[in-house]
């Protein structure tokens, strides 16, 4: 009997140790660090919130934050629109639709360097073999030819496009899971009322997808704000107006040894996504669409 009582606690030791050392301690210790002067080696004087004030007044950081917001807006809309369109496409009664689901998910499994190599080459200037510019040229759109990933006006949108391409299959799967849960009677009723395909999508599928849509949007938001380092770094290394908060934070710490400041940026980023998520969930709940 004695063993019975202690067994669950003994079983929790490995997991709780892992969480404590590698997530809980760093997140609290890092906050303490962000309140001090810190060059990465020695912890200096207590700084209070001065670090945060400095970061929020730093035009470079604000620029990176603005890039992040733009990037997030394109990516969140893009991933959800494309993901939903793909989900509708592969749930249509088409031959090969089931196989297509499997294959459309393929980009999610690809390494970022594979994606980066392909898109860098595809979007490069014509003299380097860039096929996209070649195609534009062929259809008479040579006026908008560009070095898509190395021009200040197009780089951020191009990186966002690659990010949408990379994750659309994941959002497709989420929407498919949601669509499978919709009762078929609703569609039968819609057909009886003479609703066409588009009306059925707009009045039945989309409202019924509410909860899944919220999850999908939140996931895309988190991804855009927090997980964008690799795609940006591989494609542009943060150049050409694509410096986002995470790449800026990396440079701040590892190029300029301003670790305390970089830590503060991490917490500001966290506060921003927490605020966005809560606001989103709050309004979502109030509009009564969510569970």
């Amino acid at each position: 009997m004695h063993r019975q009582v202690n067994a669950p606690y003994a079983l929790l030791i490995p997991g709780m140790t892992l969480l404590s050392v590698f997530l809980i301690v760093p997140s609290t210790y890092g906050f303490w660090l962000s309140l001090h002067e810190f060059d990465g080696l020695t912890v200096g004087a207590w700084n209070g919130l001065a670090q945060y004030q400095a970061v929020l007044n730093d035009p470079e950081f604000l620029g990176a934050l603005w890039h992040t917001v733009l990037f997030a807006m394109i990516v969140v809309v893009g991933k959800n629109v494309v993901g939903l369109a793909l989900a509708v496409l592969v749930s249509a009664p088409l031959k090969g639709a089931r196989v297509a689901r499997t294959l459309l998910f393929l980009p999610v499994t690809m390494n970022i360097i594979v994606i980066g190599a392909f898109w860098t080459f595809f979007l490069s200037a014509r003299r380097f073999g860039g096929l996209f510019n070649e195609m534009l040229n062929a259809v008479g759109l040579s006026a908008i030819e560009s070095s898509w990933l190395s021009s200040d006006t197009t780089a951020l949108a191009s990186v966002a496009a690659v990010e949408i391409w990379r994750w659309a299959g994941l959002h497709m799967l989420l929407f498919l899971a949601g669509m499978q849960a919709i009762e078929p009677q609703l569609y039968d009723a819609g057909r009886m009322d003479g609703a066409n395909g588009w009306q059925r999508f707009w009045n039945i599928t989309l409202p019924q997808l509410g909860p899944v849509l919220s999850v999908s949007i939140l996931l895309a938001l988190m991804g855009a704000f927090v997980r964008s380092f690799d795609v940006v770094w591989v494609l542009t290394r943060g150049g050409f107006g694509t410096d986002v908060v995470v790449t800026h934070m990396y440079n701040e710490a590892f190029q300029f040894s301003r670790f305390g400041r970089a830590a503060a940026m991490g917490y500001i980023l966290f506060a921003i996504i927490a605020a966005i998520s809560f606001t989103f969930l709050f309004f979502n709940r109030r509009s009564g669409r969510n569970v």
Binding site: L86, P107, I113, M249
Partner: protein, 284 residues
């Protein structure tokens, strides 16, 4: 008036709709597979051919790019490093997540709810945000630059999702089975290994596959925490190769094919587990 049935009138239109649907579907599939096809084709071209024919099929197959990738780009070393990190990360994750999930699924004890809440809360904080403090913690533990520290971070990052996935599998195992084992005098660890593991194997497979893919493909955390080029994982080693002024494309693409093929094989074998592992966390 002849009786023209409505379906007769609609047929050409429906046919057009169907063909259009198939066309869009085919286009979507081809573009999704294109990069993989492109690296595979490109990896077989000679350097000269790659520059004159970057987008087509290879005219002659230059398999020496693969041996060159091992000899010149040190892909063999990177592969070994990647395998060590992934194996370590999976071992740590599976031990930590299965024990926790089992405790949460099978025992009712004071603090159970609190543990769930803590795990859920840590899922909201991705390791990416904690880069700086993690760097400092790893260094003070003497783990910076080593495989073990990186593996622990991978395991911690995938912990919450794995716990909740495994817990749902544990909950589906009939309690009677375990009660019988308890009556036989088996310890909790023995019950877990011999009675429950066989029944929950699909869950373990889903966790293993999805987390292994994440660790295998990770660039950012390896980039920050493995500072020594000699301990680079495949993506990290190839990043340096890719960010050079003059890229040796066919060899890079050969190396990238080596990086991609294991994932492709696993994906085609265990496609359902991939989907389950990836959507379970998000749909809940």
């Amino acid at each position: 008036m002849s009786r023209k049935s409505p379906s007769m009138v609609l047929q050409p239109q429906a046919f057009l709709k169907m063909s259009l649907g198939h066309l869009v579907l085919a286009f979507a599939v081809v573009q999704a597979m294109w990069p993989v096809a492109w690296i595979l084709f490109g990896s077989l071209k000679s350097r000269q051919e790659f520059y004159t024919n970057p987008w087509g099929m290879p005219r002659s197959w230059q398999f020496s790019n693969y041996s060159d990738a091992f000899a010149i780009a040190r892909v063999g070393d990177y592969l070994l490093n990647s395998l060590i990190v992934v194996a370590l990360g999976l071992a740590i994750l599976l031990v930590a997540a299965s024990t926790t999930a089992y405790a949460l699924a099978r025992f009712s004890f004071p603090g159970r709810h609190a543990v769930s809440i803590v795990i859920l809360a840590t899922m909201m904080v991705p390791p990416d945000i904690l880069t700086i403090p993690l760097f400092v913690v790893l260094r003070s533990l003497g783990l910076l630059g080593g495989f073990f520290g990186l593996a622990c971070i991978y395991a911690a990052g995938g912990f919450g999702m794995s716990v909740f996935l495994l817990r749902s599998y544990f909950l589906a195992v009939p309690v009677e089975l375990e009660e019988a084992a308890v009556l036989e005098g088996a310890s909790p660890l023995k019950i877990l290994l011999y009675a429950i593991l066989p029944l929950t194997l699909p869950g373990f497979l889903a966790v293993t596959i999805i987390q292994a893919m994440g660790m295998w493909n990770d660039l950012y955390l390896a980039f920050v925490f493995l500072r020594d080029p000699a301990s680079a994982t495949v993506p990290l080693g190839l990043l340096n190769f890719f960010h050079r002024e003059a890229i040796d494309w066919p060899r890079l693409l050969a190396a990238l094919s080596i990086l991609t093929l294991p994932v492709l094989v696993f994906y085609s074998l265990f496609q359902r587990r991939f989907v389950e592992g990836i959507t379970s966390g998000a749909v809940k």
